[in-house]
Amino acid sequence: MNTQLEHSDLTEDAKMEAFLAKIDRGEKIEADDWMPDDYRNQLIKLISMHGISEIMGALPEKEWVPKAPTLRRKLAIMAKVQDEMGHGQLLLRVAEDLIAPLGKTREDIMQDLFAGRLKFHNVFHMEAPTWADAGVIGWLVDGAAIITQSMSLDTSYAPYARALHRICAEEKFHAQHGESIVLELAEGTEEQRQMLQESITRWWPSLLMFFGPPENGNITSNQASNMRYKIRSQTNEELRQIFLKKYLPRIFHLGFTVPDETIYFDEAEDKWIYQQPDWEEFKQIVKGKGPRSAHRLHLREMSYEETKWVRDAILSYGRQVG
């Protein structure tokens, strides 16, 4: 324990060794603990991307708030949109504490987003033209998010784990909200079923892309170091297989199809063999060249500008009384 007290006297190598040993013992890292720059940078990248994705993710569904078919559906989708903004708030706080030692603030995260330096999930660059998309987003996009977030519940970075703990509890409601819309349509008229089938077909490539490119035996250095640091514990492909195993049977049970004529489950390998989406297109989408990227970014920037007077008013009020 004396080694802890004299931590500042240790060489960088010895600090790194103690850090890795701590992670290997299953202990967690707090914001004010010593951490290697590489660990901090990986976390900043991951958590700011996650936080911004929550906020950008509310936008395609927000489009459906005024058009929801019943009052109950309207209340439920409003609640979901509000939850997503709340998730963004939690995650941005975790990211802020990580960037604070670098002299950065939330403002830098927002400006990085507006300038296209900060990416967000591929799915939130896509269109949601029908009510069925609102259902499919909740059912399958939130379903996919639950799979990656549940993996991260055990992350070595304690503040992220605590945020995810809150988030995952609410994601379960999001998935059920989506399932409820989807089942209503699936049990509905031919027209409703067709609308749902079109939505599943539209979202299929994006859902495959959600987990990122497969490793094909070559885990990227990013993934490898995140696994070494126990920031994550499963690869892109492992997560995608969990998703396929959970959701493909359900799509089939409802009598729907996915746009992949050769897809099949390989019993011996215990995995789904599917056609790869266009990974070049994926790169372009997350670079901000998806069908709705520019529009949603513009919306975000506009709302930031248009609410500036509120922030300014609160601050000047604070100065007067404080």
Binding site: Q82, Q89, L90, A163, K308, I314, G318
Partner: protein, 113 residues
């Protein structure tokens, strides 16, 4: 840049909530707010959308004093404090029972004997 000054005036508040009148306050999370009043309403929006709540505190993070990381390991309790705990007195029940049994044997008071 005005946005930058904007941001410097926002501070971190830690949020604590109490589920019922008899419950202890529990730390929820933190948020960024320009003053305590806004922090309180944001705390409700951010953390109490579903959970029942009886009362709410927000505290500026700068006003909270905690242990630095290098002192935290010393919080771990040594495992020799059984004299402070009920589990350090686990022999009492058996001893009382023995005295009762001996007494009853001596005085033949046990029913049916």
């Amino acid at each position: 840049m005005s946005n930058q000054t904007n941001n410097e005036n926002f501070v971190i508040y830690e949020v604590f909530s109490q589920k019922t009148v008899s419950a202890s306050f529990v730390h929820q999370f933190s948020l960024l707010a320009p003053n305590a009043e806004v922090a309180l309403s944001m705390a409700r929006e951010n953390f109490l959308r579903r959970e029942p709540c009886f009362n709410l505190w927000v505290v500026k993070r700068d006003d909270i004093h905690g242990l630095p990381p290098e002192e935290r390991p010393f919080l771990e309790r040594l495992d020799n404090k059984s004299y402070r705990e009920t589990k350090g007195y686990g022999d009492l029940q058996g001893r009382w029972r023995r005295h009762k049994d001996e007494y009853e044997a001596q005085h033949n008071t046990k029913s049916g004997s």
